[in-house]
Point group: C2
Chain length 355, copies 2
């Protein structure tokens, strides 16, 4: 009936190691953390005993509590992982965050914010949260999460109380692209827009849809486009995927030549790539029969889209800025939002319209 019987698989604790090594718990702690003076002899004895007992080091959970930090930054995505990561922009931003927070011993926790599921956001042991939402719908979650009193940083989100935003001049960059087309002489243009809201409803770009839209970058980009082409219409897609661009492109282009747009403004490079493929399928040459512009400047693996006229958004830099903001806020320093500017990158997919 010895106590050992019930302790078969119980992981030993630091206290147990200390006891077995004949030192106090605090000494054993120092032996592991190296955060204080311990004689080499003592340390190695503790370590040896630990190895002997199969002790794998201090329990991170206990350490979290004691230190008041978990070393985890949450990344809140608004979609399934597959969808979120299909867009290289998101991955690049994530990488940027990790690039900055990693060296400070933080890891990234993936949190998906599916409809009405705030629980995980509230229960996750994160020190800070980065919102990839881009959607005003996040507002509801945010107000709940804000109460936790942890730093909140968003990337390209609409302004939210208590949230530091890392933004981008979507309007300006979109206007630049539109102006470029206008300067070339295009007068009949169509927009292939990103999803406008969580419902991912497709169809024409209508005033109603725009009014109900929640996806900040999509709305801002449209706004920028309309500074040049006030009446620009087009199609809403389900998201930034080549296949969606192909679908929308086909629908816009498979019409009599007289009604066909001479230029298409895709709201992402992935969409643009799909549009170009659609044009090719219909026997239309780019930029001869159709000019196409994108948005993002990601390095697309598709060679045909390699030389796309687009604006390059500093995605990794944006991630880094978000990471820096997180670290600053965690350190109790003041941090301010940043607004990045995308750079126009002329490619070979735009030219004056035919005749």
């Amino acid at each position: 009936m010895s106590r050992a019987e019930g302790e078969v698989a119980a992981r030993p604790t630091l206290a147990a190691v200390a006891r077995a090594a004949g030192v106090s718990a605090s000494t054993a702690s120092l032996a592991f953390s190296g955060a204080g003076p311990v004689s080499d002899e003592t340390r190695s004895r503790v370590l040896a005993v630990a190895a002997d007992l199969g002790y794998g080091g201090p329990d991170p959970r206990a350490r979290s509590l004691r230190r008041g930090r978990s070393g985890i930054v949450g990344a809140v995505l608004e979609d399934t992982l597959s969808n979120a990561f299909r867009d290289p922009i998101n991955v690049a931003m994530l990488d940027g965050i990790a690039d900055v927070t990693g060296p400070a011993d933080n890891s990234l926790l993936l949190l998906t914010e599916t409809e009405g599921e705030h629980t995980r956001l509230l229960d996750a042991p994160v020190d800070a949260l980065v919102l990839f939402g881009c959607s005003t719908r996040l507002d509801a979650s945010v107000s709940t999460v804000r109460r936790r009193g942890i730093p909140l940083v968003s990337i390209e989100a609409p302004p939210m109380e208590g949230v530091l935003d890392i933004g981008e001049d979507n309007v300006g960059a979109s206007r630049l692209l539109a102006q470029h087309l206008h300067d070339l002489g295009h007068r009949r243009v169509a927009v292939v827009a990103l999803e406008l809201g969580p419902g991912r409803e497709t169809g024409d770009i209508t005033d109603a849809r725009v009014a109900a839209g929640t996806t900040w970058p999509a709305l801002e980009r449209l706004r920028g486009t309309r500074l040049v082409y006030p009446d620009a219409g087009g199609l809403v897609t389900r998201g930034s995927w080549t296949s969606e661009g192909h679908r929308a492109g086909t629908q816009l282009l498979d019409v009599p030549a007289s009604e066909r747009p001479t230029a298409i403004i895709a709201q992402s490079d992935l969409l643009a790539s799909g549009v170009i493929a659609a044009a090719a399928d219909l026997g239309l040459s780019v930029p001869g029969d159709l000019s196409v512009v994108g948005y993002d400047g990601v390095r697309l693996d598709d060679p045909r889209a390699a030389d796309l006229t687009t604006v390059v958004q500093p995605a990794v830099e944006k991630g880094r800025a978000a990471g820096r903001a997180v670290l600053a806020l965690l350190a109790g320093e003041a941090a301010t939002g940043t607004i990045f500017t995308s750079v126009f990158r002329p490619g070979s997919t735009t030219a004056p319209p035919r005749a």
Copy 2:
């Protein structure tokens, strides 16, 4: 000199809320967790007081310690996030894991296992770890991590003590593809291989490189291929990216026709897509001048690669299996590894060799 001075931003604790509401801490706890009988009146009073004090709910860190669970599953990737997520297979597997562990209130922590950096693996407050490594190099980390006594699950890794593997019959599937080409009459084939090790050294597939290789699936796939083409050679790439396939393809194909392979066995669909692009650039038709097979069966956004002859690997299912294994192990149940089988999917990129 009142105590309040120093407590400006201190988040209130459950105890503080309880005190203010005139109940015991345990009752307040129940009011939040709902894990016990509390009168409606009491609960609402507690909640009201909490709202009043700006208490955002129980601290997850403390909860982790008390419960002995953090609700976090670590995903160990062997690369930067950008590189790891460029391959849709990894994303799909991640999604599969999340699909299973998510409903059980677990989130995914991204851990990258860069050279010699075991620290984070050891310090992260995870309940279990899923290794995406695929590399025997992981062995070192594993032996350290194993001591933590948490469930360890790997996906397509070489057999490791104390690690449950979710595998795949790479050898069999690769042999199938090779046999398919052989049956069509191909005798001069070349392999475009995945990276063989962490160094991502490129060059010819040599015995030395193979012997030094650590990337399990790449080695296994090559082994399967050589069951049919014992002397099959080719090139090693830096990883599963279209651009790498393009580079390798160009190198293999841009030679006199007499030396040119009549078929290329790419070890991933992404690589195959690049090879096809390279063939197109060289004016070679697929499958007329060149047959190409891939591996993975991911839905590539590139339309030209859409109808690739390949084997479809159940990536999401593999992720789910890993997730289930994790949950089972966490529940203290026995769990066994699984070996999935990829399914041959004939496409339009293979045909008999010319003349």
